[in-house]
Amino acid sequence: MTESAIVGQWTAAPGAEEIVTGKARYCPDIQLPGLLCGKLLYSPHARARIRKLDVRKARNMPGVFAVITHADIPGENSYLYAEPDQPLLVVDEVRFQGDAVAAVAAVDERTADAALAAIEVEYQELPGIFDPLEAMQPGADQVVQGEDNVMMSQMYRAGDVEAAIASADVVIENTYRTQWAEQAFLEMEGGVGLVDDEGGITVYSSCQAPHRDRMQIARALAMPESMVRVITPYIGGAFGAKDEAHVQIHAGLLAHAAQRPVHLIRERRESMLTHVKRHPMIIDYTTAATKEGKLLAVKARVIADAGPYTNSTHEVLNKCGEFIGGPYKVENVEVEKIGVRTNNPITGAFRGFGAPQAAFVYESQMDDLARKLGMDPLAIRLLNGVETGTKMYTGVVIREGTAMKASLNKAAEMIEWEKRDQVERRPARHLRRGFGMATILKGSGLGRGLADHAGVVLEMHRDGSVVLQSGAADMGQGIVTVMAQLAAERLGIGMSSVRVVRADTAKSPDAGASCASRQAMVSGNAVLEAADTIRDTLLTMAAGKTKIARDRLDLKAGRLTVDGEPHELTVKDLALRAGIWGYPLHAESLVHFEYPTDVPDVTYRFSQEVFQFCTQIAQVLVDCETGQVTVERLIAVHDAGKMINPGGVYGQIEGGIAQGIGYALTEELIVKEGHTQNPSLENYVIPMAFDIPELEMEVLEIPEPLGAPLGAKGIAESPIIPTAPAIRNAIYDAIDKPLYELPMTAERVLPVPDAGSIRH
């Protein structure tokens, strides 16, 4: 293949100009004649029985067009991600602080607020269930009456863990705790519902899964899905929290009830109280190894506080367990995954899907093991690391695993790991410097056995311009750019000739959710397939016209080429002729992610089989007096398979690291008795410009053989995963104190051992 003109080039997003000029329309920016203001009435309690719910006063207020409760929902009163157990509007018992009991649509915000205030709700507060360990006990009060608080309990075993532990030279056992973490996308959740000309409902939705949204809105409205349309405007970030539905269903319900367009945008406080958080987990973890440092067994028990409803707890725990052993060769693995209902915040998807919690544990444990054995953290990882062809304990065979060790070696080289002791470790009496590494794997794609497909429609017009329709939501991660690049590359045209229609279920085929680092792969393949169909038509036509053999022809830089040399015919000429002669330049494709069939004994359910490998090394400075941790340098080496848009790849890595630093050091939703204490960006502290260290990055391009377009694999989730354990290990190195709980705040860093020596 000739050198690529577009793929692999740093490319501005097709929407960048709209964004920098302020023309890009996000949900809050949508204006329609007669647009009403929608609002939800949320529970003030973590758990309470609703004694009385009277909306008559609110309904009779001037300027109020709709007030709805559970009784007014025409169809199913539930969200449906995995289990239909979270009500859209509560019937009789609120089970967390973010439960909604009523929704209003009014002429303006003030009237809507007044209507909410006029709704009479009498709550009988009930003692909440807030401690997952207590909630697990037999006979514990039930969050959902009649249902066990243990909503999920799965044991996975490979090999013989007990025998391996018994035979081990060294066994390390620790308990780790992680926190509720907030996605903190900048654009709060929103939806705009309207009644269309045929009596159907259209909803503009800030979401990751427009087609799943459509299904949920239709079932709430008891309307056929064919009557519901979901359009994604620009989306201001999501990071998993907009994978599950939020207010877009209510926007549809209110528009239907009011028979007018309704705007429903959460405020920041509402947003932070209501959507799914990263699961806090308590993980008991045992590592067994030989005295040479060879891993023999991993045994883990993962308890996740799921909040009252299922949401994506099964999926998150599934991924946590899948990667609990890390990127290491270990045959004996036992992992018990337990999801527990409580009256705490709901939990679900957040970049990494359970893998960040697992990585914090297995990579902390690896350093503890290295210390115990007097080994170098790099050496012990290289000794145990997976490779191409390694069969994981899950039964999955790694098709391309070179990057595991390559990323470790490269990162070590970049920071001069072996010379780290030559760096000043005590730059001042009260300061300690340390170095720590973490290396991880995370799968891309939904997993074996799940419907992992994406469709696109591609059309070239007579002037050579192209419209690409895809149902893949772009929340900023850049799938639109990637798709446009792939189409432009294959059709030999410029990026400016490709218009990608933002996902709209009336126009775009289903591409599934933008999650699990999957879209570049699955939608990428769909674009290549559709573009190749059109390309084939153009080249066949060109061969007929020029009488030159088809295999000598190509399309590049807007022209037909013959043996790589430009011909006088342009793509535009060919497109015009195709239009006149009746050759359709229209292609549709539906690509399903194919899992290999040559590994019959994959025993882990829904296992992913394309892996994002990466290594990060942190250099930190710890202030022994204040407990403050400063990340001075961060080295990141990631494998992208092949970079389609390098700007996008580096952007994902940098953004992921920033989130990882927050996860490591500052970010924690503080929840007391089910009540979130810090539902604002003022005291839920995400990294600011000053918190970002010098980032030194290297992207490896080791082509992925499995289901990856041009060898490119997903990159979105991995960057956040190694950051926290790398920082943890660096703190350990700096102050000789291992930490087992996130975030690693000053309170947890202090007291620093032997800090007494710094006192005057």
């Binding site: 740093w10 501005a12 997003a13 929407g15 960048a16 100009e17 709209e18 964004i19 920098v20 000029t21 302020g22 023309k23 890009a24 329309r25 996000y26 809050p28 920016d29 204006q31 996605q183 903190a184 996308f185 900048l186 654009e187 709060m188 620009y234 989306i235 201001g236 970030g237 990071f239 405020e267 920041r268 406080r269 929340m475 900023g476 991660q477 850049g478 700007g647 996008g648 580096y650 952007g651 890595i653 940098e654 953004g655 992921g656 690291i657 920033a658 989130q659 604002s680 960006l681 003022e682 995400i686 990294p687 600011m688 410009a689 000053f690 970002i692 980032l695």
Partner: protein
């Protein structure tokens, strides 16, 4: 209905006279009355900076100021950065350097960067960080934003 107050505000060079309620926020005036929706709301508490605009040349978080306080003032929003159909060097640099992902923080970030370069045409990396410390970005990790601002500064200095 509370009493309305007459104000005159010049936004992006256009003079507007409006009767507004005293409680109307400047960001609401800009977004709802003037329909300039490039200025975003991200936190409601003046912390995220998505709503940053310039008022009489100074950066202001417009969600934390009343419209009446801007009476007689000159406001510059992201929509006013483009001149004669030509993007401001900062706008070009943010696109080229991938200084944006979801784009929601971008308008506020651009306004803070614009002010920074007005005050300091050749900022160091540390000065750039300080200049945008009031603006949160959750997608980019800021690195490409720093690069975009540096590049725009260089281009503005050479006049290219």
């Amino acid at each position: 209905m509370s009493e309305r107050i007459g104000i005159t505000v010049t936004v992006n060079g256009t003079r507007y006279e409006r009767e507004v309620e005293p409680r109307l926020l400047l960001v609401q005036l800009i977004r709802e009355e003037l329909r300039l929706t490039g200025t975003h709301i991200g936190c409601d508490t003046s912390y995220c900076g998505a709503c940053t605009i310039l008022l009489d040349g100074e950066p202001v978080k417009s969600c934390t100021m009343l419209a009446v306080q801007a009476d007689g003032g000159e406001v510059l929003t992201v929509e006013g950065l483009e001149k004669d159909g030509k993007l401001h060097p900062l706008q070009e640099a943010f696109s080229e350097h991938h200084g944006l992902q979801c784009g929601y923080c971008t308008p506020g970030m651009l306004m803070s960067a614009y002010y920074l370069l007005e005050q300091n045409p050749d900022p160091s990396n540390a000065e750039i960080r300080k200049g945008i410390q009031g603006n949160l970005c959750r997608c980019t990790g800021y690195k490409n934003i720093f690069a975009a601002i540096s590049d725009a500064a260089a281009k503005m200095q050479t006049g290219s």
